[in-house]
C-alpha cells in the first residue's frame, strides 16, 4: 500500500502539467503583439473613400462599377508550443478591404504586420483569381497564387521559361484617366508556362491611400479608374 502511495505521489507533478495542457488555447507562457507600422497604414484606403463606390473603365468603353468597399481591422491569433503546452501566443494586426464590381470582379487588399521584419509589413492583393503577397518596403514577393495549384514562380529569374515571373515595383507617380496618383505599387506577371487565363490580370496598380487604380488582363484589356 505504501508503495502505491509513493508511486502516486511521484506522479503528482503531472497534475499541474495536465492542468496547463487542459487550459488549451487560453493559456500561454508569453504573449506577443505584432502591429502594422504607422507609416504603412497610409497604404490603406483613405477613410474618406471607404464606402464610396468607384468606377473603372476599360479600353472598350465598358464601365465596371466597384462598390461594397469595406474595411476591417482585426488581430489574427497564432500559437507556438512545446509538448502540447502552449508557450507563446501571438496576435498579428491586420487590415482588410474589399470591393466587388457589377460584373462580379472582386478586388481585395490585406495589410498584415510582419512576423519577421520589424521595419516592414506584408500587403496581399487579390484580383481576378490572382493573389500576390509582398513586403511593402522591400517589395519581396512572398506568395503567388492562381487557379492552378503548386505553380512555380520566381521573382529573380527574369528570363525564366519554366516559372511565372512575379515582380513588384514602386512608382513615384502614375497618371490614369488624367488623374495623377503618387506612390503606386505595380505588380506584374510574365507567364511563359500558360497558367494564367486570358481574363486574369497580369498587371495591377495600387495607389497609396486610394486603392486599385489600374489593371490589365492577359487578353490586353486595360481597366483604368475614373474620377467623377
Amino acid at each position: 500500500m505504501a508503495k502505491i502511495m509513493r508511486y502516486i505521489l511521484r506522479l503528482l507533478w503531472l497534475v499541474p502539467l495536465l492542468g496547463l495542457v487542459a487550459c488549451g488555447d487560453d493559456f500561454a507562457l508569453s504573449t506577443k503583439y505584432y502591429y502594422v507600422k504607422p507609416e504603412n497604414k497610409a497604404w490603406l484606403v483613405n477613410d474618406s473613400l471607404v464606402g464610396v463606390p468607384y468606377a473603372m473603365v476599360d479600353n472598350n468603353g465598358i464601365t465596371y462599377n466597384f462598390t461594397g468597399v469595406r474595411t476591417s481591422h482585426d488581430f489574427s491569433e497564432g500559437m507556438s508550443g512545446f509538448l502540447f503546452i502552449p508557450t507563446r501566443k501571438s496576435y498579428r494586426e491586420n487590415y482588410y478591404s474589399t470591393s466587388v464590381s457589377n460584373y462580379g470582379t472582386s478586388f481585395s487588399m490585406y495589410l498584415y504586420a510582419s512576423y519577421t521584419n520589424n521595419n516592414d509589413d506584408d500587403i496581399h492583393l487579390y484580383l481576378t483569381g490572382i493573389s500576390i503577397h509582398c513586403t511593402l518596403k522591400s517589395r519581396e514577393v512572398t506568395y503567388f497564387g492562381c487557379d492552378e495549384n503548386n505553380v512555380e514562380w520566381t521573382q529573380t529569374e527574369e528570363n525564366t521559361t519554366t516559372k511565372v515571373l512575379v515582380n513588384v515595383d514602386k512608382l513615384n507617380s502614375l497618371t490614369v484617366q488624367n488623374q495623377t496618383y503618387n506612390e503606386v505599387l505595380h505588380c506584374y506577371l510574365k507567364d511563359p508556362i500558360g497558367v494564367i487565363k486570358p481574363n486574369q490580370c497580369t498587371d495591377l496598380y495600387y495607389a497609396k491611400g486610394i486603392g486599385l487604380i489600374k489593371y490589365t488582363l492577359k487578353n490586353s484589356i486595360v481597366f483604368e479608374r475614373v474620377t467623377n
Binding site: P53, N65, T67, N102, Y103
Partner: protein
C-alpha cells in the same frame, strides 16, 4: 411521473404529422412548345448584343430541361414532378451570365424568370403576362420590334451592386435591350 411523460408524448403524436399512406407522384407533363417558344434561343448558338459604347459582345446559349420534385413531408398530398427549362446566355468578356427559366408547375400555372448577376426580373406568370397585355413597339438600333415588354428589376437585396435595372423583351427575339444601373446598356445587334 408516468402522467408527466405521457403528456408530451401524446402532444407530439397529436400535433405532429398525421399518419398518411405514401402518396402517388404526379407527373405534370413536359413543357409544351407554346411555353418553349417564349424563349427564342437555341442551344449552342451565338447571339450578339452591342454595348452602348459600340463593343459587340458574343453570348453562347446553353439550353436544357431538368426535372424537379415537390416534396410533401407528411405524405398526405401527392408529390409532383415538374419541369424547368433553363437557358443561359454567357459571355467571356465582359463577364455576363443571363439566365432565362421556364417552369411548368401544372396544367395551368407556369412561370418565366430572367436573371443576370445581382439582378432578378421576377416570377412572371406566363399564362397571363404574355397574353393579357399587348406589348409595345420599340425602335432599337434603327429597327422596329413588336410586342415588346418592359421588365423591371425586382431585386433590392444590394442595390449598389445591381447589374441591370430594366430590360426590353419579346418572344420573337428574346432580350432586346438591357439597361444598366450606370446608364450604359446592351442592345440586340441588328
Amino acid at each position: 411521473m408516468k402522467k408527466i411523460l405521457i403528456l408530451p408524448i401524446m402532444a407530439t403524436i397529436l400535433c405532429g404529422c398525421p399518419i398518411c399512406k405514401p402518396t402517388e407522384v404526379i407527373d405534370v407533363g413536359p413543357i409544351p412548345d407554346s411555353l418553349y417558344s417564349i424563349v427564342p434561343y437555341q442551344n449552342d448558338s451565338v447571339y450578339q448584343l452591342v454595348h452602348s459604347n459600340g463593343y459587340v459582345v458574343d453570348f453562347i446559349a446553353k439550353r436544357s430541361t431538368e426535372q424537379s420534385f415537390s416534396w410533401n413531408e407528411c405524405g398526405c398530398s401527392p408529390n409532383y414532378t415538374y419541369y424547368r427549362n433553363i437557358t443561359s446566355l454567357v459571355s467571356d468578356y465582359p463577364p455576363i451570365n443571363i439566365q432565362l427559366s421556364i417552369e411548368k408547375y401544372d396544367s395551368i400555372h407556369s412561370v418565366f424568370t430572367m436573371a443576370a448577376q445581382n439582378s432578378g426580373f421576377g416570377y412572371l406568370p406566363v399564362d397571363t403576362f404574355f397574353t393579357a397585355s399587348n406589348g409595345d413597339s420599340m425602335l432599337i438600333n434603327n429597327r422596329y420590334y413588336k410586342d415588346v415588354f418592359v421588365l423591371r428589376n425586382d431585386n433590392t437585396y444590394n442595390a449598389s451592386i445591381l447589374f441591370a435595372d430594366s430590360l426590353y423583351y419579346n418572344k420573337q427575339h428574346g432580350l432586346l435591350k438591357l439597361f444598366m444601373h450606370n446608364g450604359e446598356n446592351y442592345a440586340i445587334y441588328p
